[in-house]
Symmetry: C2
Subunit: 332 residues, 2 copies
Amino acid sequence: MTEQNRQILLVSRPDGEARADNFRLVETPLAPLGDGQVRVRNHYLSLDPYMRGRMNDTKSYAPPQPLDEVMIGGTVGEVVESKHPKFKAGDKVVGMFGWQEYGTSDGTNLKVVDDTHVPLSAYLGPVGMPGVTGWYGLNRIIEPKAGETVVVSAASGAVGGVVGQLAKAAGCRAVGIAGGEDKCRYVVESLGFDACVDYKAGKLHEDLKAAVPNGIDGYFENVGGEVLDAVLLRMNAFGRIALCGMIAGYDGAPLPLKRPALILTQRLKMQGFIVSEHLEDWPQALTQLSGLVAQKKLHYRESIALGLENAPEAFLGLLKGRNFGKQLVKLI
Amino acid sequence: MTEQNRQILLVSRPDGEARADNFRLVETPLAPLGDGQVRVRNHYLSLDPYMRGRMNDTKSYAPPQPLDEVMIGGTVGEVVESKHPKFKAGDKVVGMFGWQEYGTSDGTNLKVVDDTHVPLSAYLGPVGMPGVTGWYGLNRIIEPKAGETVVVSAASGAVGGVVGQLAKAAGCRAVGIAGGEDKCRYVVESLGFDACVDYKAGKLHEDLKAAVPNGIDGYFENVGGEVLDAVLLRMNAFGRIALCGMIAGYDGAPLPLKRPALILTQRLKMQGFIVSEHLEDWPQALTQLSGLVAQKKLHYRESIALGLENAPEAFLGLLKGRNFGKQLVKLI
């Protein structure tokens, strides 16, 4: 039996903003499974801001996404056929199969997970790369102390929500920055942040100042641009900034930092990181995060697009902040 | 006997560039020495870039220099009269008496030094605050490993010269950035750096690229502005940047950082520091630095203005990079 696989390829690189026609949906027949291989039907595809960087052919921490190949990305799904001793049909797995319905693998980077207490999709969110990203930046770079103020941008997103909730649990004042009243309400009421600043309300500096009466000790940056400029002006001496994303500058011209001298005058530490380079911390982080999700002490929200063919549009929306919570594509 | 003291006061704050008329020379009679006091005739006054920041009335790591008071600054001199048990006439001392010929103190922040093997003026340079500044930024933030490339701006200056020589001693490739052919020649030929880039030659990016064939792992920043932008483009993954000075932005409008996203994509650490906040490291640093100076293994150069009245002009020249080596005023 030959089944068809549907895949989305990157077929051109953006000149400025990413566009739907940078991608193409193709159908390809699935080759028969070889010895030592395992085949997975993906249930969810993760869409993440880092993918925008991979679309460019510029120097970065990772090689660019090759043209005319399946777009990369994290996936969760179920083993449908296995000629690999470690996997059997029915296993739920987390992988990196990218934007396609079926993935075939020799088992590398494929992990069986238990979805009894943790929903399968959460392995792409709070109990996956986004969750560990928040955990790492907070615990390894910001190193929050009780009583300090921690601010996070894109606070309603997959990473930001984890950062704020873990900061609260560490005894900090947690303040989010998000786009729009709905997201801000969710950040405070559902995620339990102390405050949230709506950067779209037109008075970012004023609202941020009011939200951090004691200044800012730790900042988790997912956004860059004017938000970073505003936060820098409120940083306390010896503050720590974990740079995780600069999504504001992913499309188009590089965004400058207006007052870098504040890093000196306030004796700040600003550090960029990529969570996949710190695998030694993943087990500890995932143990904590899966425990919190299973106990329903760590809240999160998903924004789910239906069908592989809608992945490009959902991805472009993510870059514009149109998602609300972790952006997924459900592969129906 | 009443002697006259000559002092330089800050009498106005700069609006943009600092100017000579921000300062005023005054003569004041010396009050008779009280019990527990010690009087010092200053021999050298240290001029340092940080003083420009203190002239502004803006939020910074230190309170602004008050108007109509003696400009702050490090000094070395000799005790001429003492009613303090720990000091006697003839003692050579390092203090913070500022821009004046005589200093009177209760002994606070006054330290007797030995000028047998280390010239007195060196306690304002390689064996003083500038030397410890270089030592701290290199050892505590950059943490160089043998084989790495370390770059330092203002390389012919009091701090920069120490950074490069210590980096060489640690087995690194040391590359300076300095203004003008003479300074660059001195940095390579007298201080032993592997290379030096003349930022005034008009092709900073090209020359820097040629000077760091393996990229940059550690950067000690004394300057800011376009030099920092150029260096950032050449930083290797996991590079460390010690921010010590942003002198390029001290006068006038804040200078932006053009591509802050490189801190993320290259996973850099950028950290500002003020050496006076790390007193726990001074003894170790000074022991090493004074040993190296006494053995003539650490080289340095001084730019000496003669007479207190010439301090403002020398200071303004320092801000323009007209000094060559550590800027001092000899109080004749």
